[in-house]
Structures are given as structure tokens and as C-alpha cells.
Symmetry: D3
Subunit: 332 residues, 6 copies
């Protein structure tokens, strides 16, 4: 029987300029539908997991297109609800070399931001689920979204569903009167697995440390439910060239994955979500912590080779790369 | 010396599906920047008029792209102001045959909707102007926009600038607590030239008649300042095939233009704005009422042959068509 | 609870030249995945029906892409099986005016053509189903496909599932040693609803008549199980301009739908499948025969306005067109 | 053994705006290589004729691309010569409905315009040839081109090669100091077959008549070598809709082809060349005058259904259309 | 007089995803026509060689498009034969960084696979030829293709035509009941020049060595007719970054070319064919072994800079690169 | 008040092959309008400078499109004049790795090449100007262009406008009978700021030195008006990878900027113009020589990250890069 993983979060229309075009140059946008938690669900669905994504879309052709996009990835869209408001959007301009990539968000007032407790029947949604995933973007969008997130977490804990949280701190969200530090501690304390780095710890949890390992220990001290903490360490040489390495604090020790040299980046958006999806896949498939970390980091690396927010590479491709098999060969 | 025409109104990013694609099918949008009053200004600028468009854009790459687009048409963008909010958007799906074209607006909360009296120095903007043009879309967007529109009208009247109004009634705008009937009469009474039909008269002016000519007489009775009233009469055989005819109430008689059979429509959005621009061009160039009406209707017809909201056809092309010269020939 | 409709048939990769390009001119193909019965399922899924499509795909990225495409339309792909062989293909060149559209099939030896009885657990698939749909293309592909079709029909009859058959006679299929006349009578006699015209009756059932109504009576005489027979009557003025009308023999009388003048055809492939889907939708939703015929014919007409084999228009759009509401208007 | 047909003339790079875009809107051009006489050669090569096109290209990548394009059509490019000058160009904007199509030529000073007598070994080129084709564009380009044209005609006559001439009068060519009336009579008098209408007769031959048949008789009176005269009669309802009919003066009587209603024109450039090619094909394949005229007119009609200057439709397609077989059907 | 080189082999339609798109993401394919031996012929034709490619295509628009494509490259297509079967296809997904490029072949049952001895008049084709080229792909496709290959080799030897063989071992071909080791030795023993590496030697010739030079000596020992053996040594750092070096066993010594660092690969398919073409060009133009190897390796390197299977770079460009002249400069 | 900068020079239509396509492969060109001095004006306009570009265009849709393009960048086009001749063109093929980029110019006989003294009212144009910029391309095009350049320089000197000159030596221009060495010394001696390298000094000024600093001293010795000399030092590793460094001779010392490693070049055309624009921006904004050099070199580097001839990056982006802030980060 398939593993069942539940995720919650807004999915936006992504409008990206073609090739190296800038916002001020383009006469067209490529579009697709994406959002941090939905990206995790989409990757997992592609790997054979029963991934249920919960969100709220406008009851319009754009909302229907977003649902169809998730279905195409294989995500179970049966728990999505619909409302009157607008589709959240984000505009993406791909950088090159010394020129940075840029995102302009236009997501306030989206149908998801208007979600309210009671709209989702969480007991029904979480039935038979192994895992629930949320990220710090959801409580940043509106009080309603924060409340729904809490509502879900309480049901998940009650049902013994494992909970993962990607802190995903973004300063320019949190516009509805609350700050991350007001809300996130109460949500993280309900979570089993956390992804984040020292900046996330400081802004969302009030933990100021300069070292990841020290930070992990502090997070666990304050949040006894948290069992493991992971993060991607990224070195940005240019928009076209990064190096990444995965880190995992197992509760006892700090594991490091092999490093990947990403010399010709195709699209780096969603790389963190590919890492998150890899962690969930590893642990729900009884991989060891080390195997899970290597799988997740390889997933993250391969995400940089494909367009879009979702890692559409297969389990076999991810494992080939982490094992150094056929890398860069022409497969006939 | 060039004629100077001022216009006021929001300019949105237009995102249209390519060819016959539907919203639920497309993976890209063609984009350009458009809005009823800015379309009028753009057409006029292309015909050699000094057209100044007044609007408010977000202070972002998208706002800068919109300004650049107006500049490309030759519009004077020196009076545009910038603010913090978002760019208004509209999504367009082109119909075909029995399938209707569809527009999804996403324009609430745009930078323009946040315009407030005092932001524009109207005395400066209107200096040496012949004409001021506004439409019923502006007061429909927000109280601030309605107030700025009134502010502009009062300055225009004081300076003796001719005022044209396109009633442009759209039921699903007017969401800020006021209805057209609350606001429009106070603006139309300040205007010299009006474009509208019986539906506009009923919804925006409270004048219920079934006949255009009767309606025009009623409008003038209630609004002594209004001198002339024009409209396009359109017969929609299908999304691909329409017939149009221009009507002009001169205050004394009803003139009718020749009819145009539009058998292979390329893009009908902005056709009313092309008509409006033609009227302004005719009257500011001392054409007779009949000549002005024929020019405006030919402009409207030619707009259906080009993509985008703006009639990019030249004065010479418009006059060739209305005179039946070289129509449909291959010009080498 | 949703209606459940089962369909069986090959789904191919469709490779179409862009715009008016010919096979000998093009440097690219637009692709999508399509096949007569899967098109029916896709339209039904878009209208809210629980549509389960049964097929066999190659276990490759192309097979996975085909599955994802069906999922995007909302089709339940849980009963699809996978094998080693190739993806069936068809190449499409769109005609214009006097130049005919052309299809080059490259579908022999597809994974579906290698389907064998026993590969599908029909009792499981048909559980709780209202309807089973098949077409004459399936038995034309291979002995195995013909056998699986029979296998499905027998289970459907046993479970009391209504059966629809689209005769879909194509001379250049039937290459495996059998002719339509050898196989089709044994399958049609198990069906409740038939779509076909006089050519189909002659080639697939051995019934030679020149008149549709007479043919229907003959079909029923030979096949007592058949309750209703429908067809689209098409007049091809050119590749760009057709007229269509729906016909339905109710068992008692011949009903005719309103006629549609299709003056600017976008894509006529799949129009028959849109008609078929409309019939199934009407009858499973307790519409009368007349309502069902009008719905199906309007669905067929609207299919000509969209690219691809599938009618992606909504129930509301189909009903607006058949009721003459807003046809060809710009909907804002 | 294949028929051998020789043609002479400049081949330009054609740069056309995509879809309905105007010159002032486009950010790209579709390109191909075309010219009146080369278009004739390309159509003939597609129909199995050994078509040798003689021209002069710049010795650059653009010249090589033009040669490759002719080769792709199957034209024998072995007699092309190369020089230092530039590639001739023409820019094409496709019209729609009332908006005319426009061509901007940029062809002066092309490598072909610098051709000089002696550069082509005509005795070698014309060996075993049945037919030589030239048009009035060549002598219009430069004195050198006019001289080379005469040089070719004299060799052709000496060798008994049939000569066809398309008068193709274009007022805005003829910029090198000579007018058509100075040059064309001396070339037409060497030709066997002429294509042209009353405007061509007047401007190029000084024959002023209002009626085609009368004009033909006058042309023959002055030019005893001319045996037959043909033309396309075109009615331009709009850029999207034309009607055409072929006319042929056999020397004894005026034949008229069936009329074609071209309701959705894809690209009308090169239609005259498709007619010319059809005439040459008919007569070199022993068709009667009537058959030849019908073939040529059907070829002309089908040209309007394809992009580019060349009729890429096959002999079978042309004959199906003129016989009314399968017109507008979907051929599977 | 031009050198005449004959090649034999299937040419497929290549369908490649645009940019970095994956098979499961794309909605279009770029197409061109390619195959190992035809790629060699196409490169040679571009360099001024009289290259005759022999193959068998379906008698359809797709077969005609393939022929036209070869003609565009300048290949002599006069010896191609046509039959009823299908066009072979291959699908290509371009990799990026750690993600490998993938090819899905769909070439079984192609018209070429149905070629039979007697279909080609080899004595006629080989008249005046200097060189005949074949590869190990042809005998892998079918018994008929293997027989035709042998037939050609025997005629070539009889006429004293130099024979080159590219072993090109591909495990997943050879599906018709024979293995490479059954067929290839009998064909290689008739060849003068061989391209291959240690894997090819092992699988196709049964020679197991770990070192190229040792392998060459063994090949020559077993095949006295073989005079020279060459290969590309490739280091695959990633899909985007390779290093290559050419190796040539002259019969006496092992020559090594300069190494090329290919840091931003555009398209690596056909690189081996560009090397092969370079060898043939060098030796038929009386270059020394060292010059020939450097030319061939530079040709191989430049192939990685262009899209498609064929090296479309000129002789002058190849020589500039191998001499380090203007490399990477902007040439105005 | 805005700085006012005047520039003079031809603006061509640039036709570039898409992606990595070669001239002999492409079926389309991307177009934009560009030229060395207009590129400088466009960059400056984007940075808020009042940039007036003076040129002469054909009075056609192409000339109007070129004007519109400059307007889109914000350039003041009010001083452009129009004439009868053609638009200058250049064709661009982007290189990759070892394959060089290529430009084919087709600019002779352009409307600008026909410019004559007296066509521009320089006293009016230069009113209130701070700066006049010209380059060595203008006097290379025609005697008229050289004369107009001199005319402008004399007015500028008289009015005390600072003059910058980009020597821009191109051997294959200078076709009208004069060589650079005949004309350039008389123009450089009127200039304050010079951009050029040792090759430029030799060919345009007759100064033969092997070292930039020595050359600068010689230039100043001969041209006392010249105050500062700058250049970009470029190392071309491949078409995809360059390193650049800016050099500035202040009259007293040689300053060097930081070096930029350009590892994934998007488009290097116009990089020198971006450097030139950066110098003008720096000095007209009271930056120090060192700050100006760093700004100009960062501008040059960023130009390599965008398509087109113009640096469309903002002042803030340029300063971030030179200060190493957020380089290669994803900015949300």
C-alpha cells in the first residue's frame, strides 16, 4: 500500500521570463503552478507516494488550471477547496552570472490567504496518513492561514502522524500584523522534523547562534518534540554556478552529504522543496539517516537541472547521481 | 504645434493565451500593457498627437515595463506617478466561432486604485491642452480614483479644455461600495462629448430608453454641457465574425457611418478605444462630424485586424479603408 | 456520488505541425496525447464524471507522459497497465480552405496493440460503474485488442453496465488478418447505444442502405440489444468551414439537432468523440433524448473551436451555445 | 527522363512578421528564401521536374543558406554563381480583413543585380532543356540583369527551347534609368508564352486596352512568336478573402478555369508563380490547354493555403482539388 | 573534380525536447532528420565533397521531408529508394549538469530495416567513388540490412573503393536474433579504416583488451585489410562539460590530437560522426595522418557547439580552431 | 535637473539567430534595433539621464519601429531626421565555446550614411547639453557622416560641451575612399575623453606602441585636448567564457578595475558601449576616476548577462555587483 503524505500550502501561478530575458524586456511569460509545499507533494507523487495536497483556489479557470497541474504531477487534489478570491502569482526573472535572479510576489489576498479554520475536514484528510508537511510560508500569509496550519498540526499530533516543518523564513511576507517570532514557535513545537538554518532559527524561533550544530541543539532544547533538523548549505559563486551540501542533525550527530558542483544551473527555484521531498521519501521508505540525507541532497542537486519548481527526476535518476553512475553520459 | 490631449486611467498588464489556447491549456501568456484610456492615448500618439497619459504604477520592474510600453507608442509619460502597490492585471482568452472570448480581471488593489487627490498637479498637466479624456472605468475602481477623476474634470473645465467621456459601464467593477449611478451623473455633467449606448445610459445615468437617439436626447436634456454622443453598434455573429457601424448624435441629427463586415477578427479588445481615439483625432483636426465619425469607425474596424488593445494603424491606412482604396490588396 | 464511466482504447502521442505548416515544411511538432475513447473519458472527466480510462502504455517516459496527460484532464488512470512495446503515434497536418487535413498513423505494434485477455481485472474495474464505452478502433488494432474488448463487454453486460459503441470504421486499420465485418457484429450485438453512419453500417455490419433512418432500423432488427443510434451529419465546405447537425434514432423516431455553421475551424480532430461524450453525459444525467442530442451536438460544435482532440469546454459553455446565450460576445 | 526547365532570377531572403503582427510590433521575423522565378523552379522540382535555377548570390553564409533552401525544394543549384555583394531582402507584413498586406523591398545592389553577361555559360546550362522561364523583374533590377536575360533568351531561341515570360510589372522597380517600356518589348518578342494582364500590357508593352482578350490579340499582333497568353483574374474582397479564376488565350479562343473561393487565405505571396509553374508543368506533360489552365489555376488556389512563396502541394493534391475530390475532408 | 564518397544507413526523424525540457514536461518537439552514416555524408557534402547517401525511406510526406533535409545539406539523394513501411524515429532529451541526456529509439520496423539485397544497384552507385562508409548500426537493425551492407562491401572491394567502418556498438539494437559478434567480424575484415574503442572491440570483434593501442594491434592481426584505427577519447565531467582527444593508430604508432575542453556543450549527439567525417575528409584530401587526426578532432569538438546531429561548421572554421586562430572572438 | 547627453550615430536593425542556431540553420531571426552610440544613449536613458540620440532613419515602418525602440529605452528621439534610403542591418550568429560569434553587416547605403551637413541643427540640439558622444563608426560610413560628425564636434567645442570618442576601429568599414588614418586624427583632436586600445591607436591615429599606458601618453602628446583614455582589457577563453578588466589613464596614472570572470556569456555585443555609458554616467555624476572606472567595468560585465546590445541593468544592480552584494543570490 502506498505511503500517504499530506501537505498544506498556497500554490501560485508562476510567470517566468523566457531564457535570459528581463522583466523590462519580455513580451511573454512561461507559466506553471507552484508553491513550496505543493512542490514537495508533486515530487513525492512522482516517486509513487500517495501525496494529498490541501489548498484553496479561486473558483475560476485559473484555479482549475492549477488543480489540473497538480493532478498532472500525480497529486491527489480531492481535498482542495475553492473560493471567490484571486490566484496568487509570482513573477520570476532568471539571472545569469553576476546578475541575480529576481522574484516579484503578487500573492496577497489570494484565495488561500482567505482560508479559515473549519474549511478543511482534517480528520478525514489525515485518515491513514503517515506524514504531514507544512512550511513557514503558510502562517506568514494571513491569520486564517496560520490558524488552519495550527488546526492541522493538532489533528496530526492526535492521530500520531509525523510532522515536518520547513521554516522558510521570508522577511517580506508577514504583512498581516504578526511577525514570525509571534507565531512560529507555537507551530514548530508541534513538529517532529525541521528544515532550517541559522537565519531561520533567529528570525522564526528567536535562537541566535552562528553555527548550525549549536542552533540545532538549541532548537531541540526548546522543542523536545523535534527529533531531526536538516538544511542545505549553499555557496553562490554566481547565478549560474552554485555548490551545495546537505546537513542533517540526527539528534546525536551532524551528518554531511557529498557536495555537488552545480556549474550550469537551469533553474534553482524549488531546490529546497526537492531536498524536503527527499527527506520525507527517505524516512517513509525506511532509509537510514545517512541514506536519507544523501537522497535528499541528490534530489536537491538534480532539481537545478530542470525547469520549474518541482523535481521531476525519478528515484532511479537520483540514486544514480548519488552513486556516481552514468553521470553526464548520453543514455541510449 | 502638436495638439495636446490628456488622458487618465489605469494601465494593466494584459496576459493573453496564444492563438486559440484556453486558460486551462496554455503554458505561456503573451503580455503587453493596456487600459481603456491609455489605449486612446497610444493611438493618438501614433497619429502625431502630443498625448499625455496620467496614471499611477507600482515602483517596480513591472511598473517600469508598463511605462516603457507607453513610451514605445509615443505617449508622454512624464506625468505618471509611482507607488508601492501592485500592477493591475487582466487575463484574456481569445474565443473562436461559437466560443466566446473571456477576460478575467485581477485589478483590484492596483497602484492606480490607490491614487488620491493631490497626487497629480492637474494645472501643470493640463497647461496648453486641447482635450481631456476619461472613462467610466476610473471612478469604478476606488473612491480615490473617482475623486481624482472629478478633480481633473474641474480643472479641465476651468481651463476650457474639451472633455470626452467613455461611459464604459462594467457591472463587475464598482466593488468599493458605490454604484455607477451614484457617481457617474456628477462626472458626465462636466463632459462635452460622451460615448455610450442604451445600456450605459441606463446603468450609469438612470436613463431607460430602448432607442439610441431617444437616449441621446435624454442625456442632453439632463446634461446641458454634453454636445455630442457617439457609439459603435455591433452585431456579433460569432467570436470570429462581427459587423460594426458607428453612430453619432450631433445634437441635431443622428449620423451613421458605413458598415464594416469583420469576417476574420484578429483581436477585438480595445475596439471601442480605437473609436474614441478616432473621434478625438477628427474633432481636434477640424474634421466635420461626418468625417470624424467615418474616421473613428474605420479606426475601430482596423483595430480588429491587429493584436493588442491599441490601434497601431496609421492615419493614411484608416483613410484608405474608409475610402475603399486598396482594401485587401497586396501593397508592394 | 459521481457517475462512473469506463472506457477502453489506445492513447497515442499526437504530433501536429504548427499553424498551417505542412509535414514537409515543419521543424517542430506540437505534441499531446489522444485517442478516440480516451478523448471521451477526458471530456467526461472535465464535466465532473468519474471517468476511468483503461489502456496499456509503454513503461517509458513517453508512457508516463501520456498517463500524466490523462490525469491532467482529470481521468482516473489507476487501471492503466504498462508493457515493453512502443507508444503509438499519429502525425497531423492541419489543412486550410481547399487543402485537406492529413493524418499519418504510426500506431502498429504499440503497447496497447499487445494487450491480451487477463491483463485487466474487468470485474474490479467495472465495480459501481454506470457505463462502458468502446469504439471500433480497438478491435481493428490486433486480435488481442479485439479479444480484450469482447472480454470487457461480457463483464459489462453481466454487471448491467450500459454499453456505448462508436463504430468509427477506418479502412486502413484492420491489418492483422481480420476485417471489420468479421469482428464488429459480435461486439455491436452486445451494445446498447451505437454511434455510426451508413458507411459504418455497411463496412462493419454488412448493412447496405442509403438512408440513416433505414439503416438504424436494420441495425436494431439485427441487434435487439441496441436501443439508440446517433450520428453527426457533416457538410465539408472546406477544411476551414463545415456545417454539422446531430441525428438521433431513439428507437421510435429520428431527432435532429439545431445546425451549427462552423466558419473558422480551429481543429476538427476529436469532434466525434466530443459528440459521444455529450451523449453519455446527457443520458447519465437524466436528460431527455432531445436534450441529450442538443448537448452532444453543441459539444461537437465547440470542439472545433479548441486545439487538441479533447473538448475542454465546460457544461455551462456548451449549454450557453445551444441556448444561443452570449455566443461570440466578449465575456468580461 | 526528367523534363529539364531552366529559370533565371534573383532569390531574396524573405522576412515576414509572425501571424498578424505588424512591422512596428514584431520582435522576430520568420525567414525563408524566395523570388518569382525561383518559386516557379521550386514548385516544378517538387513535381518531379529537373528544374535548374540560375542566379547569383553573395559568397556568404546567407548566400549559402539561400542555395541550401533551393536544394531542399529539389532545385538543381549547380549553375548558381557567387559574388561579393549583398543578399537582396524583402520584408512582408501579412494583412487581415480590411488591412492590406505590405511588402518592403530592400533588394537594390544585390549580388544578382551585379550579374553581367558572360558570367553564365548559357549553352552549357540550356543543354537538353525543354523550357526557359524568365520574368519582368529581372530586367527591372539593373542593366546587367537585363543584358543577361537577353543573352539567355538568344541562346534559348537558338537551341529551340520554349520560352515563358511572366511580365510581372512593378512600378517601383526600374530604378537604374530605364523603364519597362524601353526594355520589355525586346524581350517579350523572343518569348513563346506570356503571363500578364492589361496593366502589364500597358506599362511593359505600350498596349492600351481595357479587355484581356483584346489585349492578347494586340500582343500577338506585335509579337508573332508569342503563342499563348494567360493570367489570373483576382477579386480581392479583403486580405483574408479573394476569388480567383484562370484565363488562357490559346491564340484562338479565351478559356476560363473554374473559380476558386479563397475564404481563409494563409499567404497569397507567390500565387502567380504557382500559376506559372502549373502552366509549365501542364504543357511539358502534354496536357491540353484546358487541362493545363485548370491545373495551373488549382495550383494557384492551393498556394494560398500554405506559408511561403512556393506551392509545396503535390500534383495529386492539385488534381484532387480541381476534380473536387476530398476537398476539405480529413484524410486519414 | 569532386571526391565521391558513398554512405549507407538509416536516417531517422529526431524529435528533441526544447532547451532543458524533459520528456514528461514538453508540449513540443524540435525535429530534424539524422542517422550516423547520413550525418557523415551531410558533413562531407557541406565541405564540398560529392557525398551520396544510400538509404530507404517510407514513400510518405515524412520520407520526402527526410530526403529534402539531406538535399538541404547538399547530399546527393539520387540513390535513395522508397517503400511502404514507417519512418524510424528517435526521441532526445538533453541533459544538464549531473542529469544525463537520454535517447529513446523507436526505429524497429523502419523502411530501412526492410531493405533487401538487390534493391540497390551498387555497381552503379559506386561508379567513380573514392570511398564507402558504413557503421555497425546497419547490420544491427535487421538481417536484410546486414546483407545489404555485405553486398555493398563486396562491390566496394571489387572496385577498389576505400572502406571505412564505424563499429558503433549499441547493446540495445541487435534484436533480430543475431548478435554483433555473429556479424561484425565478417564485415570489418572487408574494411580499410576502423573507428572504435575497446568496448567496441570486445563486443563486436571478440577482442578483449584494456588498452586501445593493444586493441588496435589485435584488430589488425585478425583483419589484415584494416590499415588504420581511430577513436575519440572522451571524459564526461557532466552533461554540460566534457573533454575530448582524438586517437589514431596508424598501423605503426599511436597519434594523439590536442585536447579540447568542452565547457558549455550545446548538443553532443553526432560528435562521433563529425570525427568520422573529418577522417574521411582528411585522407581523401591528401592530408597526413597527423593533420587528418587534428582535423577530425577539431570537427568533433565543433560539433558540440551546434544543434543537430550534423557538423555544419566549415573547413575554414575547423582549421581556425585547430590552429587556435580567433577562438571565441567576435568576428565582424 | 537631468543631465543632458547627446549622441550621434547610425542605428541598425539587428537580426540574430535564436539560441545557438547558425545562419545556415535558422528559420527565424530575433530583431531589435541597435548601434554603438545609440546603445550608449539607451543605457544612459535607463539610468535617468536625458539622452538625446541624433540619427537619420528611412521614412518607413522600419524607421518608425527603430524610433519606437529608442523611445522604449527612454531616449529622446525628437532630433531624429528621416529620409528615403534603406535601414542599415546587421546579422548576428551567437557562438558557443570554440565556435566564434559572427556578424554580417549590411549597412552601406543606409539612410544615415546619406546624412549631410546642415540636416541637423546642432546649436539647437546641443543647447544645455553636458556631453556629446561619438564613435569612429560614424566617420567610417560615408563622407557625409564624417562631415556631420566634424560639424557636431565644432559646435560642441564652441559651447563647452564635453566630448567623448570611442575609436571603435573596424577594418571592413571605411569603404568610401578614405581610411581611418585620413579622418580620425582630425576628430580625436577635438575630443576630451577617448576609449580605445593599442590597435585603435595604430590604425586610427598612427601611433604604434605595444603597451596601453605608453599609447595613452603618445595620444595625449599629439592631442592636448584629450584628458583621459580608457579601455576594456578582454581575455577570450572561449565564446562562452571571457575575463574583463577596465583600464583608465587619468592623464597621470593608470587605474585598473577589479576583474570579472564571465563564465556563461549570454550576449557580448554592446559590452564596449556599456563601458562607455558607464564612464559618461560616472563623470557626469561627479564620481571619482576610480569610482567611474569601477562603475563602467561593472556595467560592461553585466551587459554580458542580458540579450541585446543595451545594458538594461539598473544603477543599483551595477553598484551591487561592483560591491559584491547579493551576487548570484535569488532575490525575493
Amino acid at each position: 500500500m502506498k505511503k500517504k503524505v499530506i501537505s498544506l500550502g498556497d500554490v501560485m501561478m508562476r510567470l517566468s521570463t523566457p531564457g535570459s530575458s528581463r522583466f523590462t524586456q519580455t513580451e511573454m511569460f512561461n507559466i506553471l503552478y507552484a508553491g513550496s509545499e505543493g512542490n514537495v507533494a508533486s515530487a513525492l507523487a512522482g516517486w509513487g507516494v500517495h501525496a494529498v495536497h490541501v489548498t484553496r483556489f479561486p473558483d475560476s479557470d485559473l484555479g482549475r488550471a492549477a488543480t489540473a497541474s497538480l493532478r498532472k504531477f500525480g497529486v491527489d487534489t480531492g481535498s482542495i477547496v475553492y473560493g471567490d478570491e484571486r490566484m496568487g502569482l509570482y513573477f520570476l526573472e532568471n539571472g545569469a552570472m553576476q546578475r541575480s535572479s529576481k522574484i516579484i510576489y503578487d500573492r496577497f489576498d489570494s484565495a488561500f490567504a482567505h482560508i479559515q479554520p473549519g474549511m478543511i475536514d482534517w480528520s478525514e484528510v489525515m485518515k491513514d496518513a503517515q506524514w504531514f508537511h507544512w512550511s513557514g510560508i503558510t502562517p506568514a500569509l494571513s491569520q486564517g492561514a496560520a490558524d488552519v496550519c495550527k488546526e492541522a498540526l493538532l489533528v496530526a499530533r492526535k492521530l500520531g502522524v509525523t510532522i515536518s516543518a520547513d521554516i522558510n523564513y521570508r522577511r517580506n511576507l508577514w504583512q498581516y500584523g504578526k511577525q514570525a517570532i509571534d507565531i512560529m514557535p507555537g507551530l514548530i513545537e508541534l513538529s517532529d522534523i525541521v528544515v532550517g538554518g541559522v537565519t531561520d532559527f533567529e528570525n522564526s524561533l528567536g535562537i541566535s547562534v552562528s553555527d548550525f550544530e549549536m542552533g540545532c541543539k538549541e532548537v531541540q532544547k526548546k522543542n523536545p518534540a523535534v527529533k531531526k533538523i536538516a538544511n542545505i548549505h549553499r555557496e553562490s559563486i554566481s547565478s549560474s554556478h552554485n555548490k551545495i551540501e546537505g546537513l542533517l542533525w540526527t539528534g546525536k550527530e551532524l551528518l554531511r552529504s557529498q557536495q555537488y558542483d552545480l556549474t550550469h544551473i537551469v533553474d534553482r527555484v524549488g531546490a529546497g522543496d526537492a531536498f524536503m521531498a527527499g527527506l520525507i521519501f527517505g524516512w517513509t521508505n525506511e532509509k537510514t539517516d545517512k541514506q536519507t540525507l544523501e537522497f535528499a541532497t541528490s534530489s536537491c542537486a538534480l532539481k537545478h537541472t530542470v525547469e520549474g519548481d518541482v523535481n521531476v527526476c525519478t528515484v532511479q535518476e537520483i540514486e544514480s547521481v548519488l552513486n556516481g553512475i552514468n553521470v553526464g553520459k548520453l543514455l541510449r
